[in-house]
Homo-oligomer: 673 residues x 3
């Protein structure tokens, strides 16, 4: 890949009328240079078992090739045909709600041997047919694969087999998981009860981990098949997605993105986000940072994002541009819309594409034309961006499971993501760019600050590596509940926060829920106002008696005021801040900047804050690119980099009003590093 | 039928003690001249299969006849006996929640051959026994029949058969319904998946339509059986009901009233509504207008309405009278309470009748006595009223299904009814009386204005007939989303609002959700204040460039203000107002009055508005009746018709305070037409 | 038992590391003199069918005995082992949600013969092994037994058998239950439909009563088995619990405590309650009063209450003491925490014990040490307290079922408990101590006032006994809905409130829901302000025409103001207040005090009101004990009893600030009776 891809998903299969030539003409006009096809069209490809139909595939491949538009072929496996469901009801996934009935996509049992046999067949038939076609630049495995809350018999059996391998002795498992409690002991493998109905968090979390493993295994299996057909210059990717709250909100609970991405040559993702007055860029940055991390900082593909999308997302003028370049600034090498044309029947009629149902140019399409033109013009500058940050934030699916098993108070949502996003957003809003990490290892020495939110379940070794990172000169910001339980979600019997007490120099044995509880700052630099409350959880912290630790904040509470809420310690060459509660983005960003020397934190662009977002990268030519984004309806002032060239922006405005960005506008500057 | 019927449902079967003679004495005293019996008493009639018991039926028929009280016999099929459920579990309906268990009424599968066989038997046995009895004036088929969300095997099989007849070629069905999407194609009838779990709106709506058809078929089947026994002077009716929101709120989604009513000789209905301070008369008028439409404007039977009802409905003094004459003013020829006596056991103990559990006269019963007396006195004037309106509002079950499949934003309720009632209530509150229509055809030329809310799914022909109506001189008010999709819920590929663009002279290809979005009036006569927002949906309208269309209102929004919200066009001899959003009743009523020439709109009584409601009708003798209703706790002023005779009202008050109506009071005037 | 027990639940089975000696040392230090073991450890005791393991039981019994700590052995039956669920799926209970899957506790079918066979075996094996051990002072049967909403086949069959015995003639059952309604008749026992899906309140309530009977039978069955092994000096108890609203809120709907307690020699209970700023003592008093009533006023065991509990319960300093002595003041002879140590795995990790997960002394444990010391010091004074009240409040499971079947308006909760707690709390907050009674019989003549909330379902005899109580000189406060239906939940056909009209001299036949409806006082002593509304329900009361009844309050309502809301009557030598609506605690407490002569009501300590709570008792030595509790964060003033000795309190504070109690503090005084 030697260019920035600007793409759309294209479904010739769904067209109510002949559109191919007209669509391609409009694509060319808009600078679309790639389409993504086939990923949910199994029943069109194989309308009956063993009967194949390549009509749409062939004509789209040929027409696109002729037009010079590249093609990504998706394996069609994530939506199964009705004949398969009828012939083999066992391919339908069973969740705690019962076995799925035919209708939706993503209702199959991805560990079912029957399903796998049929899926392998259609993949091989399709790839055998197309793999020599010159239009194809890459393959997408399945789509948004998850385990679909599978608790079916095959899943159960495989889970028990895995435990059986891990635990030659049941006694150790009973002990690790604490199964004596409520008479839950298992003293014969035959007695193993349904994992789905367990009330044992240790067993339940082990099952969640295993469910994610089946996704990893499934994508690796598809990757091996596709590899038999793909050429070295073709990529293999997958379209990952995120915890969904009507949009891409948080870390995906049902997939371990880091493990699953090993089967890919390039990471792919879909990112959907609020728009109009609610557009902030947070999800674009958050999703991009995660996806960039999956292949060690390499550029990634935004395989899907919204063009018009839902009615509440129809973009304001300028927003489609703002979004596209925000993806680029996070390291995307492709921005592709789901989808070209709005669909006229079925479920996603109101998830609109770049075109409305009338196929005519509309304001969103017209704006896309300017993006296509700019991407084509700036391709050499924007492709292959290198993004280096000296702040990182630690992600853990296992900690998520465990935290969510024990939600504080009345919380109903995915609490881990509530907390993770609070930390992430605090950094984003204050223009502290981050890398996402999935471990703290030797390579982490390149980070000046590591943020550790809610690391509730972790083995001793990881906690010790965090201590070691600090001892060696690193700075950590550790959130409440971290260190509390081990990798089996067994609470540690030492003083909390467990092994992390060593670097944090603080302990607690009691915790409460905040009730309108404020925070008192103990140092003048830490600005805390009445809005900055203790939220969600309050650990009653006591610093150790050394002079190596100081209280940064305590609780405003008639009884609990004697306990610390936030502490800072020196440990070896580094330092650690421990937060015993959740607090505001304002408090969190101050703590991160306190840990680093603000002036020299490379990741930080402290001159601006949300709604002005600044992103930096280094282009292939070794030039520094600085992006300025105005995520607001007001004109914003920016400090332009010294001696920089403006690659993108309103040049008229620049000449007369230097340093202003129009509402929902952006600027890209190039300078020497 | 040559009189106004004043009735009650009567259940001798449920009596805890001997009451028949005492009850009849009290009925006579209250002017009750009809009772409705037997409609849920199958297990009493047939306590075991083939064993029959006519004890209650016979004694009630004989005693009523002796007392000169007419009787309506209900077929007893809407609540099945326990022995039938035990012997034939397959008669229990299956919905997406599973198969019903015995207990409630309305839990049977009305397409089950077994159920139909037993139902036919008990109907025939009952009618054979009673049909010569002189007390019987009519029959009611079943009760509040619906399809009970039936998705059982017989329903599925019949649905597929129907499609198979409609589509000799599966390819056309795949195309009409867009089944390629998400691999939903059906390439063999054997593969047809469960209709209940489809995510395809086209298929789902086709199934809903078919479910309603089974209700039509079921009532026609009962009607044929009953016709074998009934005499020409006896009517055949059914008790229709409405979308239930704790009361009769909206158009019934599970029955096509217009189709089902073909099996009847007279339409019947139940109407329940809020009372006390929440009594508005809206549901009485709304339900009455629909029911009057079912048999081309003929008088209808209010087979059930509340006497005391729920605790929150116990009527204020005067309200029972107000309600009764409101029914009459909408065209009812019968007002019957559910039910005579409050029931001492089981489910509806707190749905109280005219009598409380103690069988003694209570304030509500005492008020009923005055109603009975007035109805008897005025029977000649009030029976056979002819109600003619020059405004109509279009209803469509198919549009309802389709709109509700794609609810805007976070809406959870039946959105079609939310919208329909907004339009209906706007007219009601401003005393613009309407007819309900189920089509726009040649007969509609008698209407000066037709209101078309949310006609989301409609075939080309209907939309063209609307254009033609306007072209020929009609006025239409068309609501947002109309014209969007065809009869298969396939979105049209032309510019929206599809074929209606022709008469409306407006187009759009984008739409958004309002967020505190106001409206700007573009003409001085249209009064819009800050309360009159865009609600629920916003289409970004662009009028065509002719001078035949003007913008009446635009959106108050920093970005969308350039788009029209409401437009008015000239087309042929008529005109059309198009609303791109929902707005207040105040805005809607202004638009209707703008379309018509206010002064000469016969349906409009613009001198008054809610809480003073005015209804007009013409009596059998050719005299004009004008009803004034005070739906408030305050005294209200009315303009009495010139030269009119007061048939009903507080004559003392009239003499001294002409033109005043007491709280919850009413007046009826008679005048020459 | 000759001492106050201070205890904990102790689970050697759950320990992640060897703790027994260390734990016992810490227990001794804290004055813990009893532990409760084994109640949920079946799978540890019998890891496979017929294989037994007494390791933990033996070592704990021996170690405790050596340390002088008494032991309660719980039968281990309330949580079943996984092997039993696998071998015999029929032991899993079936509710309307379906059959339980293995995982939680309390998921078994307690009428299943299979379950009972296995349960009997493990009880006998355990007791055979331990029953000679000298450490054991008593046995606990099962734990928090309920019927688990059992609607399974055995339950259904047994229910039908019971009815069959009760009703030789089905006709009488059809009549009593009103089964003609909606065709629900049962004319053959074979046809009996599932009790679970009935919509007939009479049948449904009969089923609820039967479900509770199975709990009574189950505990009696366990009691008979345990009695075969226990010595006369050992007690047999059970751990009852309450309607759970995140804490012990109300009367238990699934157990008839009075009936079930017959199988016990001493009553036991768990009481959990809000804490921190929400600590009020109400649940401690409410739960204690009920439990004390179960064995005719004898002392009871608080087998479980919170030490730290949930994060929102972690006690403020002083609260653990306040709570412990509040239990004692209500008649508890044991206060035992659930549980000693916080559990490291599984479901209740965040239901913390006296120790946190780190087993170290924490503030809560340190406070427990002072309690243990004070209990030891004052054991002679505090054990065997006799509590005599002259006010009683009537409880009825049958009335609860029936009221909840017909919840007023939009109420969703257990309305009976909402109402019951309003009455109870009104008395508690105003320091009117009460006995709980389950009937009004001859023994009730010792009460000056009886309060009767929501006695909706009751047979004629009970209502007549209430009339007789009044006639004989008693005073009653009767709440709305009382007397309405008979013991079969058939509404009475006489004027309401039925038979109680005799003593109350008031009738009604209509009722409505309040909508911001105030009350007007008709007598100067009854102080009603705008906060004291009619709530939940409004009966439109009319007093009879005698001079024996007066209206105390009427409704503030434009229409209903002519009806009485609260009346007071003279009847024989007594008097009765009838409330036609719910109202505030302030109104209720005034009415009770009005009935009694305030100055001489022994149960009343009118000098104080919440947050200062006063409780009185007589010790074994015949001395009067008076407890003062400060349920607030502020210092409170108290009037110390004349000539009393302070047994417990802050003596320093006493000397200088007599009459003050510190926040969350308490005082105990001893004086002559």
């Amino acid at each position: 890949m030697s260019t920035i891809y600007y793409g759309v998903a294209y479904y010739d299969e769904y067209m109510p009328q002949e559109r191919l030539a007209a669509d391609i003409a409009m694509m060319k006009e808009a600078g679309i240079n790639i389409v993504r096809i086939a990923e949910s069209t199994w029943s069109t490809l194989e309308p009956q078992e063993g009967e194949y139909n390549f009509y749409h595939i062939d004509r789209v491949l040929n027409a696109m090739h002729e037009a010079g538009i590249a093609v990504i072929i998706g394996t069609p496996t994530y939506a199964i045909p009705s004949w398969l469901a009828r012939k083999h009801p066992e391919v339908m996934v069973t969740s705690v709600k019962g076995q799925e009935k035919y209708g939706r996509r993503q209702i199959m049992d991805i560990v079912s041997p029957t399903f796998l046999r049929y899926a392998e067949n259609i993949i091989r038939v399709l790839l055998e047919h197309v793999h020599t076609h010159p239009a194809i630049v890459g393959y997408q495995l399945d789509n948004e694969t998850k385990h679909y809350d599978n608790v079916g018999p095959v899943m159960q059996q495989k889970f028990v087999e895995t435990l059986r391998q891990r635990y030659p002795s049941l006694e150790q498992m009973n002990k690790d998981f604490g199964l004596d409690y409520w008479s839950n002991r298992i003293d014969s493998w035959e007695d193993f009860p349904p994992a789905a109905s367990t009330i044992n968090a240790s067993l339940g979390c082990a099952f969640s981990t295993f469910q994610r493993q089946t996704v990893t295994d499934y994508l690796a299996w598809q990757s091996r098949i596709v590899s038999e057909y793909s050429r070295p210059d073709q990529f293999i990717t997958h379209n990952f997605d995120f915890e969904w709250r009507g949009y891409s909100y948080g870390v995906q609970p049902r997939v371990n993105h880091f493990a699953a991405a090993k089967a890919l040559t390039v990471a792919g993702v879909d990112i959907y986000h609020p728009s109009q007055a609610q557009l902030t860029g947070r999800e674009i940055s958050f999703g991009g940072d995660i996806t960039r991390a999956l292949k060690q900082g390499a550029g990634y593909l935004v395989l899907e994002t919204e063009a018009q999308g839902f009615a509440q997302w129809t973009p304001f003028p300028g927003q489609l541009r703002l979004q596209a370049f925000s993806h680029i600034a996070s390291g995307a090498k492709m921005v592709s819309y789901w989808h070209w044309h709005s669909i006229h029947n079925s479920f996603e009629t109101y998830w609109k594409g770049l075109l409305s149902h009338d196929f005519s140019p509309n304001p969103t399409y017209l704006e896309a034309k300017t993006i296509g033109a700019d991407l084509a013009r700036l391709s050499a500058e924007l492709d292959g961006l290198k993004i280096e940050n000296d702040v990182a934030i630690l992600i853990s699916n296992e900690a998520m499971d465990a935290v969510n098993w024990f939600k504080p108070g009345d919380a109903q949502s995915n609490v881990y993501n509530d907390v993770f996003r609070r930390f992430y957003d605090a950094l984003y809003d204050n223009n502290i760019s981050v890398d996402i990490i999935n471990d703290v290892d030797a390579g982490c020495s390149r980070y000046r600050v590591i943020v550790v939110p809610a690391l509730y379940a972790a083995d001793d070794a990881l906690l010790k590596r965090i201590n070691h990172y600090v001892e060696s000169g690193g700075q950590v910001l550790i959130g409440f509940k971290s260190g509390f339980s081990d990798e089996n979600v067994k609470v540690r019997t030492c003083r909390q926060p467990g092994i992390l007490s060593e670097c944090c120099r603080v302990t607690y044995s009691q915790f409460v829920l905040p009730q309108d509880t404020g925070l008192n700052s103990h140092c003048p630099e830490l600005v805390i106002t009445t809005e900055d409350c203790a939220e969600l959880w309050m650990e009653l912290l006591t610093p150790d008696e050394s002079e190596q630790v100081q209280v940064l904040a305590s609780y405003q509470h008639p009884v609990w005021e004697k306990y610390a809420a936030i502490t800072e310690s020196r440990y070896g060459k580094g330092s650690a801040i421990y937060m015993g509660c959740l607090s505001s983005k304002k408090v969190i960003s101050q703590l991160v900047l306190r840990l680093a020397d603000k002036k020299t934190l490379a990741s930080c662009n402290s001159a601006h804050s949300f709604p002005v977002i600044v992103k930096k990268a280094v282009g292939k030519k070794g030039k520094r690119l600085t992006f300025y984004f105005n995520y607001s309806s007001d004109i914003q002032q920016i400090q332009q980099p010294e001696g920089a060239v403006c690659l993108l922006g309103d040049s008229d405005a620049l000449s007369s009003h230097r340093g202003e960005i129009e509402p929902w506008g952006l600027r890209v500057y190039q300078s020497d590093v």
